[in-house]
């Protein structure tokens, strides 16, 4: 056996370890005066910057929030146990930042970018500060590309554009997260070769879970995995058990991760689920730092908290690469109270809202969207022409239906025109219902809406419409695929398409009626 001489080993060791022995280390320190409830007050650290990270002896990091006359207020990102009065706190001279990049896709991380899915470290090379300035006016251009959610009700009536901020608001258990998840799952199409051929750019998704149960987040991740959506998604989770400071910075971290895509000419979608919990976390930290409470005990800068976050959603000008960051903030209301402080704030910041109601949800209308008060202020420009054309009469019919709905109870006593309106409205409402996790491509949506608004469904019983829809899509795929392709390519309802759709609808309804009697 060949022996390795001990001198050789120590020579190698020495070589490997050189460079570690520094002459001296210079750093700045402060002393912990007080610690508790996730915040600490530090004496010293006279040169520290706001939002700089400081390190406690047990390795926990903290972020400087308050600079006061005689102390520094710090919120702790980790365990406060082990931090005691008189401990030495070190400056790190780093502003709080998160790793960004493509390598994060498919991962579940905490707001500091540390993976929590047990799949090893994330080897990113870049990081961005969590608090970044929103792009200015000259860097932007109006929203013009659609972000397809795959939900008929939203894509047709309240279209969302890439770079828009659309609020999803509603009580608990009304399907807010379901809409967000469906939207993520529907982006799968944008990552295919086919989409590339049609000039649709991929959308990378970031799902920020704030103050949710660990089990709920695990559920979301498993759904995303099941539908193959995790490959282009980053999940940022600040669970209910995490310290309030982490829950507070979660959305900013998710936004920075999304900004990486936006700044590099790519497209991203960030979902903040939900901002009411973030506001509560921020309220906690603020009150502990003794900032004066305002309405509902929220601090004075709670509006700015959300406005500066949502301003970072943008559509960049072509000169800047044309990247986008779409934001879908979620707000949970208490017993439908949209006039509460946080909901009104966020409603006024965003470019529209999707309003979900428990009554509709219980009546079986899912997504439980109240079409009357949901709006999208900029998405219309982004909607494709064909969809715009079919959505026009759809909106009109539904509006008239809502007005007449009260009379529906009188049944046969109504005149013919009213009856026709009611029939149409009931069918449109039925056709807009959609199951969770079943996004529908936009071409099929248009084809279906076209048949509905042109009266093909009026003669069919409402109960048969679910089956109608399914079989109609199959029929279109196998017999009129060219029409669907035309819709994707041309994005408008020209004569060729209309004739095709009419023929398809005639053929299919004739076939379908025959199956009804059985």
């Amino acid at each position: 056996m060949v022996d390795v001489r001990p001198e050789e080993i120590s020579a190698i060791l020495r070589r490997q370890l050189t460079g570690y022995e520094k002459e001296a280390d210079i750093y700045e320190v402060g002393t912990v005066l007080q610690v508790g409830d996730g915040v600490a007050r530090i004496y010293g650290l006279s040169k520290v910057m706001v939002s700089e990270l400081v390190e406690f002896p047990n390795g926990t990091l903290g972020m400087v929030l308050n600079l006061e006359e005689d102390n520094v207020g710090v919120m702790l990102f980790g365990d406060e146990r082990g931090v005691k009065e008189g401990d030495t706190v070190r400056r790190t001279k780093r502003i709080a930042s998160v790793p960004v990049g493509m390598k994060l896709l498919g991962r579940v991380v905490n707001p500091l970018g540390i993976p929590i899915d047990g799949n090893g470290p994330v080897n990113t090379t870049k990081s961005l500060p969590i608090e970044r300035k929103a792009p200015g006016v000259i860097f932007r251009q109006p929203v013009k590309e659609p972000l397809q959610t795959g939900l008929k009700m939203i894509d047709a009536l309240i279209p969302i554009g890439r770079g828009q901020r659309e609020l999803i608001i509603g009580d608990r258990q009304t399907g807010k997260t379901a809409i967000a998840l469906d939207t993520i799952i529907n982006q799968k199409y944008t990552h295919t070769e086919e989409a590339k051929k049609h000039g649709i750019n991929p959308v990378y998704c970031i799902y920020v879970a704030i103050g949710q149960k660990g089990s709920t987040v695990a559920n979301v991740v498993s759904y995303l995995k099941e539908f193959g959506a995790l490959d282009y998604t980053i999940v940022v989770a600040a669970n209910a058990s995490d310290p309030a400071p982490l829950q507070f910075i979660g959305p900013y971290c998710g936004c920075s991760m999304g900004e990486f895509f936006r700044d590099n000419g790519m497209h991203s979608l960030v979902i903040y689920d939900d901002l009411s919990k973030q506001a509560a976390a921020y309220r906690q930290v603020s009150l502990l730092l003794r900032r004066p409470p305002g309405r509902e005990a929220y601090p004075g800068d709670i509006f700015y908290l959300h406005s500066r976050l949502l301003e970072r959603a943008a559509k960049f000008s072509d000169k800047e690469g044309g990247g986008t960051l779409t934001a879908l903030p979620i707000i949970e209301t208490q017993a439908g109270d949209v006039a509460a402080y946080i909901p009104t704030n966020v409603i006024s910041i965003t470019d529209g809202q999707i309003y979900l109601e428990p009554n509709l949800f219980n009546a079986g209308i899912r997504p439980a969207m109240n079409i009357g008060i949901s709006v999208s202020r900029v998405g219309g420009n982004a909607q494709n022409k064909a969809m715009k054309k079919v959505a026009g009469p759809l909106k009109l019919d539904l509006a008239q239906y809502r007005e007449l709905e009260a009379f529906a109870k009188f049944g046969s006593d109504l005149d013919k025109a009213t009856l026709a309106q009611l029939t149409r409205g009931a069918r449109l409402t039925e056709i807009l219902k959609q199951k969770q996790f079943s996004p529908i491509p936009v071409d099929k949506q248009i084809a279906l809406m076209w048949t509905a608004t042109n009266g093909y469904l009026d003669v069919l019983p409402i109960e048969s419409l679910v089956r109608f829809q399914e079989e109609y899509f199959q029929f279109m795929e196998s017999n009129y695929n060219n029409i669907l392709t035309l819709l994707i390519e041309k994005k408008e309802l020209n004569d060729e398409v209309v004739i095709g759709l009419k023929k398809a609808a005639d053929d299919f309804t004739a076939l379908f009626k025959k199956t009804l009697g059985r």
């Binding site: 280390d25 700045e28 402060g30 010293g44 006359e69």
Partner: protein, 179 residues
Amino acid sequence: MNEQRVSSRYARALLEIARQNGFTEIIYSDLKFVRHTIEQSRELKILTFSPVVQFWRKKKIYEEILTGKVQPLTMNFIILLTDKRRESLIPDICYQYEVQYYELNNILPIEIESAIELSEEIKNKITIKIEKNTNKKVISDFRINKSIKGGLLIKIQDWVFDASLKNQLEILFKKLSTD
């Protein structure tokens, strides 16, 4: 050393009066003595911070302990603080006075920790080197701290100049254990 807002103001006022009369240095040593006395005696410390003991009783106790040992100005100042029920701030005010006194006289207090007792020659060398670099008169406080294992640890206000063996070992540990 926790309170600053109130104590720095009292200290500034005292320093102002002392400056007018030209004995800032005597007051400085007086206050250092007061702080030392309070810190040394557990009973006096408890008394100073106790909200239960009446202020006039405290006043009598302070008078008895300090009369003759400190300047009349210092004595009056302590009495004034007790009258104003600020006696719990005495150590803080003493500390703030020291800070402001140092600032006034361009003095830099530093703390130097080493694992073993340093020779006078090395102590002088260190002090002179720091004086040269900071352009300030340095008052060094040499301490022995076995936990740093070797080398030096120099604390200048918020700055730490860490050339200790302990810190180097920690850095080595961090480098070896991560990535």
